[in-house]
Symmetry: C2
Subunit: 188 residues, 2 copies
């Protein structure tokens, strides 16, 4: 067994982002990413099944989201339970020190179809996780599916604003996006 490496996935992601920006995603190999991070190829594959996965973390966000929905006040309706989870995500994950990395990462994703595909599937998996978490709170399945779709849109709007602006926190942006969605009255 190799020695334990402090934050190996984070170092690999940072190295990958640098290299993707410098040479393009297509022209970067897993070996180059590992070398840049001062790690080995086998360490890379201990954390990520393939090159595409390196910018997608290790399921952390899904876990935080599920926890956030579960820990919302029992009186919160489905959409408010989601807002509570997005707020929590803003405090623990989409923090100010991650903003610049997230902005650069998104630019790399947007420029590459393979990465956009992986991102699209991750979003579907995240939405499915929201549905399950809401259903576990007693929200009927169809309401949970509608709420999760709307939550995915709230997330997208808030995230795009969060990476493009300098000051505002993710949680308040998500709350405002949700209020704007409600104001459309689109489902009434």
């Amino acid at each position: 067994m190799a020695r334990w490496q402090p934050d190996a996935p984070g170092r690999l992601a940072a190295a990958a982002l640098d290299l993707f920006e410098e040479h393009g995603y297509e022209n970067t190999t897993v070996i180059e990413i590992a070398e840049r991070a001062g790690l080995t190829k086998s360490t890379f594959f201990r954390y990520f099944p393939d090159k595409r996965e390196v910018l997608f973390g290790a399921g952390t966000i899904t876990d935080l989201l599920i926890e956030g929905v579960a820990s919302a006040p029992p009186t919160a309706g489905p959409l408010d339970a989601l807002a509570h989870a997005l707020d929590a995500l803003g405090r623990t994950f989409f923090t100010a020190d991650r903003r610049e990395f997230s902005r650069r990462r998104q630019a790399v994703l947007n420029a590459n179809t393979e990465l956009r595909e992986r991102e699209a599937l991750k979003r579907i998996d995240l939405t499915a996780a929201m549905v399950k978490a809401l259903n576990r709170r007693g929200v009927p399945i169809l309401t949970a599916r509608v709420t999760a779709q709307l939550g995915a849109l709230v997330w997208e709007i808030a995230y795009d604003q969060w990476i493009d602006t300098t000051g505002e926190d993710f949680g308040p942006l998500a709350r405002r996006a949700l209020a704007d969605l409600r104001a459309t009255g689109a489902l009434c």
Copy 2:
């Protein structure tokens, strides 16, 4: 130039589906698909940029969807304009003779991550097309985004029911799914 081939994309898709079912997606080559369809590799690449694309048609659905939204009665609200488009899609594309192919196709997609990723990105592109088509009818952009998200869910629910049942048409299934979504009152 090769001779014109009647419905070459359809023959290639049918051949690909057969082969993916028989040997798996991973174990099938573009050459084998072309041969099975009685066509050449270069004909394949005239219609599809890669092997993944062969089960995703050539943008037909997007065009039909945009047309369907545009041709909805001027008095129709955003969600009803989408329902009108899904109805049209049921009459022109998701027809009874396509049901069995669609069911088999979906089973192959569900079994392969690469194909699920391509499908996930196609869904995002379709949702973006819905947003544009609604916006062109004068629907404000945020309302259009909410409506398109809900439309994507209506589509998914109706499609899953359509391929799994034997009798009901896609259009009525979509109408019913939309009514059920409205009844959740999730955004009110």
